[in-house]
């Protein structure tokens, strides 16, 4: 199994996909689970589909994600679904999302 995991990690590294590899603990799992609430539209771990109408979030600067989420939440930034969804997240959750996504590495090429 460890070998399989290494192969997967290596394959992912080659394709430029961040793997969230490395030591995992309960906090990291929770952070990644929070990011997963964005994934249906923005892609698994924030890697959007190449043809997606929405941006990939992985590797975006944390400050930018926080700013945009708060702008959606306040109504300063217009949109269709995002202003409605952003209102469901607290400041702390937005910050955790942003930190986790920023650390997740570069977006898919």
């Amino acid at each position: 199994m460890k070998r399989a995991a290494r192969i997967v990690a290596a394959a992912a590294a080659l394709s430029g996909v961040a793997t969230f590899a490395g030591a995992q603990d309960a906090a990291a799992l929770r952070a990644r689970s929070l990011v997963a609430t964005c994934a249906a539209c923005h892609g698994t771990d924030g890697h959007a589909m190449p043809s997606a109408a929405v941006p990939g979030l992985s590797g975006m600067p944390a400050a930018y994600i926080v700013e945009q989420m708060k702008a959606f939440r306040s109504g300063a930034r217009a949109g269709t679904v995002m202003p409605q969804l952003a209102k469901g997240y607290s400041d702390a959750q937005i910050e955790q999302l942003a930190e986790t996504l920023a650390k997740a590495g570069a977006a898919k090429p």
């Binding site: 460890k2 995991a5 997967v8 309960a26 799992l29 589909m49 209102k87 469901g88 997240y89």
Partner: protein, 447 residues
Amino acid sequence: MMTTSMKRRDVLLKALGAGAGLAGLSGCVARVDRDSGAVSVVGAMNAIGKPDVARVLVVGGGYGGATAAKYVRLLSQYKIEVVLVEPDAAFVSCPMSNLVLGGGRTIADVTRPYATLEKQHGVRVVRDMISSVDATQRIAVLASGGEIRYDKLILSPGVEMMWTEITNLRAASQQGRVLQAWKAGPETTALRRQIETMPDGGVFAIAIPEAPYRCPPGPYERACIVANYFKAAKPRSKVLILDANEDVTSKGPLFKKVWSESYKGILEYRPQHKATGVDAATGTIKFEIQEDVRAAVLNVLPPMRAGAIAVQTGLANSNARWCNVNWLNFESTAARHIHVIGDSIQIAALMPKSGHMANSHAKVTAAAIVAELSGWDPDPAPMLTNTCYSFVDDKRTVHIASVHAYSEDEKTFKPVPGAGGLSPAPNEQEASYAWSWARSIWADALA
């Protein structure tokens, strides 16, 4: 290096009839001899704190099950072994499948392979069904006769039609005379054929059961798509919606506006019409109160309940229809180590039975299982999101969105106040977003 889990994997692979490797099990007949001890190298009770020797069995490869299978692998950093049992050869999406009925899309447009789950994520996909579950021994029996032992079981079996609620419906459905097409696939194509070959001047009648049922806005979207097709191709034809509910159950004002503006004289909506029987020979629907209705194409949806395997396993402990779960990990309140997700569960307040919601259930469940098998507490504050697009014709959509947070006080999910909402009006911009959503969520579940 031969670890215990690798040994067990090899033994199991042999038992499953496969030579080696993670992929290629699809279509194999799984035969695990209970008496040979082949799968008992690791006891099911030993897995806590040792995720790399644990096995999660996922039953059902729809929006819930496919997502759960992928995310258990992903979130466990590929430590936990995952077996997915699914009878169909490919994933066919119910969302977007109404467009096939209008003729603008084919079933291939809403179909994706399971192969990526195997190749990219090492999920073993076994093409079969589960015929029974021994919740005490943690063994699931395959329809083909084999057995699969699990540490955690995730059931995502969708809905089962309650045929006996509508007289003659089961026979009419089996004969292909009165279709449901409420699970996308060959029936969707067959219903399209009925609509396409119906002579102009005919009526397409869709009967909607009392809520809760799978996909609340789905029947109204379907009515719009068929009406839009009639408008272009069969202008003397009509769409008749016969709804057991008191009013439109989802996106009501938006649908009604479209009906009056775009489908006046083509589409008629009749609330409080509870279907009780059909007569396929005469094309008749019978109702609890009102006069019979005759139509050229009948699309009668009976009341629904949790998928058969969930009911049969004794998990449908809410009104004998739906499965109550603990919301922190979606574990059944009726059986330990069995988690139920997707349309089969007894929903929390304002939680739709939708594909996106099943995807959300799957992720919370996967994370909770990974946490438990790692020896950690589950996330005390999980979140669920839902976005659902409905097409009102071939170019415009409307959406509904919501965010649900776990309430520690009430031990359930509640919509976050102030969050969520609807489109202000049907629009073309969101039609492209709807396809973007579909392709993204299919990839999130499968790729």
